[in-house]
């Protein structure tokens, strides 16, 4: 039974045996049933029945997911972004989910202006803090922040030189909250 494929509505057990875990639910008659297409798993110690889905994952980001998003607007203390990819998941559909980034979620230290951290068009790697859209994003920590920035004068991609971003065309430095994994680095 444990390696058998189950479909939505299939009985996994009764509520006296198992609590419904991920992918399972309890119906009105006290049966524990599957919600999705998947392989059931029974935790005999904790008495939990779960179903591991085998359909492709939903494109929707979840809480604590790490996402890539493009900044669409920057206001005095908040920036809006469109999430286009969830790390570890291959989005099957081109849906964009909206997210917001508040100044307080940019760094653990004080940030005077959000313009010092992100600009329109930048791609950020962020953590999702809420479970429903519009999502609240955070780029606190060295792994999160801008992974690809564009020059505010010429829109060319900026290159990371040691710790600052540089536009080779305008010969200009720009400020961002850069992630550890910034895409374009100066090769020495």
């Amino acid at each position: 039974m444990s390696n058998e494929l189950v479909l939505p509505g299939d009985v996994l057990g009764v509520i006296e045996e198992y609590f419904p875990g991920q992918g399972a639910y309890q119906d009105d008659d006290g049966n524990v049933r599957s919600q999705i297409i998947g392989i059931p798993a029974f935790d005999l110690k904790g008495h939990v029945a779960t179903v591991r889905g085998i359909t492709s994952p939903m494109a929707m980001p979840k809480k604590n997911d790490v996402v890539l998003a493009r900044i669409t607007d920057v206001k005095s203390n908040i920036a809006s972004a469109k999430i286009f990819q969830v790390e570890g998941k291959h989005p099957r559909s081109p849906y964009l989910f909206s997210g917001f980034l508040h100044v307080s979620r940019i760094s653990t230290s004080y940030v005077k202006s959000i313009y010092d951290a992100v600009r329109i068009g930048d791609v950020i790697r962020a953590q999702v803090l809420t479970s429903t859209p519009p999502y609240i994003l955070s780029i606190r920590g060295k792994d999160y922040g801008v992974v690809l920035a564009y020059c505010s004068s010429c829109l060319g991609p900026l290159i990371l030189r040691s710790i600052s971003l540089y536009c080779p065309r305008c010969k200009k430095m720009e400020k961002r909250k850069v992630a550890f994994k910034y895409y374009i680095r100066l090769r020495v």
Partner: protein, 251 residues
């Protein structure tokens, strides 16, 4: 030019108890179901029942546009039932007709009880049902196809939803009406159910049934639903046993 015209049959059931297409009164038409036929949809299903050909596609959960339609505590379900212009003998205008708008609503209400919409606040789940070829019973075919597409999209469901029509022709209670029986029969009753939970999510009726006939018809519908449900299961299993093999093979 060949003109295909529909002729009203003298009778719907002959002296051997056989119907215009040679079926017995409690017999379904041939069913074929394919899962995951559309690459761009999150879940999809192609279903044939007799001469009906239906395509269902599911998108979501995704953000709602226009935004004001979104609900703060649950997802919304949007359905579009649509017949393509070449689905019937005479060209049907592609614009949504009064009938299609109403069927979209009843299909939405037939699918809604099966879904855990409260899991996905502020989002939408979109179901598109295209009737490619129509021969009576397209709403029920659409519901059965949409339920399979929803499961294929990985959306949590209480149960699949299965639908079939029953009716009355020449005084007999018949299962799975075709177009002629629908038009010239005495009654037509589409039924949708969640087969494992035993709850009915759609029940419409056109024509007259005595209370006894109604009971007989409902029992016949449940018998038909069990048969269609077995086909839905088989199609999903066929698809996902293959997926599982691929996944386990790659590890």
């Amino acid at each position: 030019m060949l003109v295909r015209k529909e002729v009203k049959p003298l009778r719907l059931i002959d002296e051997d108890g056989l119907r215009t297409d040679g079926r017995r009164v409690d017999e379904l038409r041939n069913i074929k179901i394919d899962v995951g036929v559309l690459k761009n949809a999150d879940g999809s299903c192609y279903l044939e029942i007799g001469r009906n050909k239906v395509m269902a596609a599911v998108y979501g959960p995704r953000e709602v546009h226009p935004r004001h339609l979104a609900l703060p505590d649950r997802a919304i379900l949007r359905c579009r039932y649509h017949m393509v212009p070449f689905s019937v003998l005479e060209r049907k205008s592609p614009n949504p007709t009064r009938r299609e708008i109403e069927l979209s609503k009843v299909i939405r209400e037939a699918l809604e009880p099966a879904l855990f919409l409260e899991y996905f606040p502020r989002t939408t789940i979109d179901v598109y049902i295209e009737i490619l070829q129509a021969d009576g019973g397209t709403r029920t075919a659409g519901i059965s196809a949409a339920a399979v597409a929803l499961a294929d999209a990985g959306i949590p469901m209480r149960d699949l939803v299965t639908a079939i029509a029953v009716g009355k022709a020449d005084g007999h209670i018949i299962l799975d009406l075709n177009d002629l029986e629908d038009k010239y029969g005495e009654a037509d009753m589409p039924v949708a159910m969640m087969p494992n939970l035993g709850s009915i999510t759609l029940l419409q009726a056109d024509g007259e049934f005595t209370p006894e006939e109604f009971k007989e018809a409902l029992n016949l519908a449940m018998k038909g639903i069990r048969e269609v449900y077995a086909k839905q299961r088989e199609a999903l299993r066929r698809r996902y046993l293959k997926v599982r093999e691929e996944v386990e093979g790659s590890v």
